[in-house]
């Protein structure tokens, strides 16, 4: 690990003006630094900032940026009113890491594309212009939707998928950003993963608490039972009225460079019952523009089955 200065900030203003990489849990940043993917000159410890806590007020759940994954997953209001968040968090990482990792850091974790994580390889995200070995390489874990010729790495956060389905807002020290506008698709600039500007500090997450959100679930499919990233995942919130879908939100993980919302799939479900046929049509709408690579074509089928499985639970 390259040498760096370490400073502790005790106010948001100090943190922002300190001019370095923020560290909270450190569970991703330190790995990136050990592997030489990140090499900041200065690391700013923000753990002393008053940005923790979870509160429910006026129909909005506010999660402080420094709240830990374990703390949020176990919070009664989260478990009962926004179950998809709790489920997504408990399906993430390991108990130790959930005790350490902050909510804001979880949203900003870097992709687990191993070409990105190994500096021996070219990677447009790490070194723009150098290449993307994943396009023709070991791309089993990579994107089938939203990728570009420069990058097909998927976003690793389960929480981000859940928050996308719930239309959460990311709050920074200077603005509020709907999560649907927070993450960027790679296109020609995969090094830019979100809209945060240099030094911009996430202070919290806001989630509307609705009846729809209370009927939300998370399904994560992976290569082993726990402590593994998603091959594909689905966050779904469904409200039925008289047996017909009154409102639905669907977000998918493991299939795209950012949490993938599918308005087409949602439209295919609205206004009718949750029949096998309608669910199949929604799945087909979801993958209509899929562009699988050599090793990940199975995801096109798998994500449709995952959708069918989670929606079946709402009938």
């Amino acid at each position: 690990m390259k040498l760096f200065d370490y400073v502790r900030a005790t106010s948001t203003g100090d943190a922002v003006s300190a001019g370095g990489d923020y560290i909270a849990g450190g569970t991703d940043l330190l790995n990136l630094m050990k592997d030489g993917v990140e090499a900041p000159d200065r690391v700013v410890d923000i753990n002393a900032l008053p940005l923790g806590g979870i509160s429910l007020d006026a129909g909005v759940l506010r999660i402080g940026a420094l709240a830990r994954m374990a703390e949020v997953a176990a919070h009664p209001a989260v478990r009962h009113r926004l179950p998809v968040i709790s489920q997504a968090l408990l399906d993430s990482a390991s108990p130790q890491i959930r005790n350490m990792a902050s909510i804001s850091g979880n949203l900003l974790q870097r992709t687990r594309c191993w070409y990105f994580r190994d500096t021996a390889f070219a990677c447009h995200k790490r070194r723009p212009g150098s290449g993307c070995p994943a396009q023709d390489g070991q791309n089993r874990w990579h994107a089938i939707l939203g990728g570009s010729d420069r990058c097909i790495a998927v976003h690793a956060s389960d929480l981000a998928v859940a928050l996308t389905a719930l239309e959460a807002t990311v709050v920074t020290h200077r603005r509020r950003i709907p999560i649907s506008e927070f993450y960027l698709l790679p296109e020609g600039t995969p090094e830019r993963e979100n809209v945060l500007e240099s030094g911009e500090l996430i202070t919290g997450i806001e989630v509307p608490v609705t009846t729809l959100a209370s009927r939300s679930r998370y399904l994560k499919l992976r290569d082993r039972a726990t402590f593994e990233f998603a091959v594909v995942s689905v966050a779904a919130a469904v409200r039925l009225r008289g047996g017909e879908v009154d409102d639905v939100r669907l977000a998918f993980g493991g299939v795209a460079p950012r949490p993938w919302r599918s308005p087409e799939a949602e439209a295919a479900l609205k206004g009718g019952p949750l029949t096998d046929e309608r669910i199949r049509a929604a799945g087909q709408a979801l993958v209509r523009d899929a562009r699988p690579r050599e090793h990940n074509a199975f995801k096109v089928e798998l994500v449709q089955r995952a959708l069918a499985q989670i929606l079946g639970g709402f009938r």
């Binding site: 370490y6 502790r8 106010s11 450190g26 790995n31 002393a48 390991s94 108990p95 402590f227």
Partner: protein, 198 residues
Amino acid sequence: MPLLWVKLHGMTQDGPTRRDVLKAGATAAAITPVLTQPVLAGAAAPSGAITLLVNGERHQVEVEARVTLLDALRERLALTGTKKGCDRGECGACTVLADGKRIKSCLTLAVMQEGREITTIEGLAEGDELHPMQAAFLKHDAFQCGICTPGQIMSAVACVAEGHAGSDQEVRDWMSGNLCRCSCYPNIVDAIREAAGR
């Protein structure tokens, strides 16, 4: 609100120089004029002297900023019970407790753990009397090579304290952050279930 300026130098092999110390103060001043006490830089030990509270004892150690808690425990405090497996947060061999919560000591900087109460495998037994979890691991033969065992036991102690040892399946799920390449998992689950039942 004061900026607590703890500068751990980008040190050279010879250690920090007086210029580093002065530079730290100057940089801090540039950030915000009101604040800026270079806490460690001006102290008698002009480098990254930090205080760690480990197994009830207070230790002052000199570290570079990049030293993880794991390396500080093993290399500075000679507490080699905590093992370095992958050094990437994947194997769990380095699990310790921080304020009673299990963490991976390879994924946090030593300086970030100032003020926390760290418990390592060396801090579990009461004199010659083993912690019930240690005794249960012995009784159930819950290890072979033993390198993952300190991490397994620290994680297991927390797993029970959290109330996550109610069934074999729950134990498996909540111990998934600790790998055992000898694959002693069935015996580990038995040991934890027995210790939880006491």
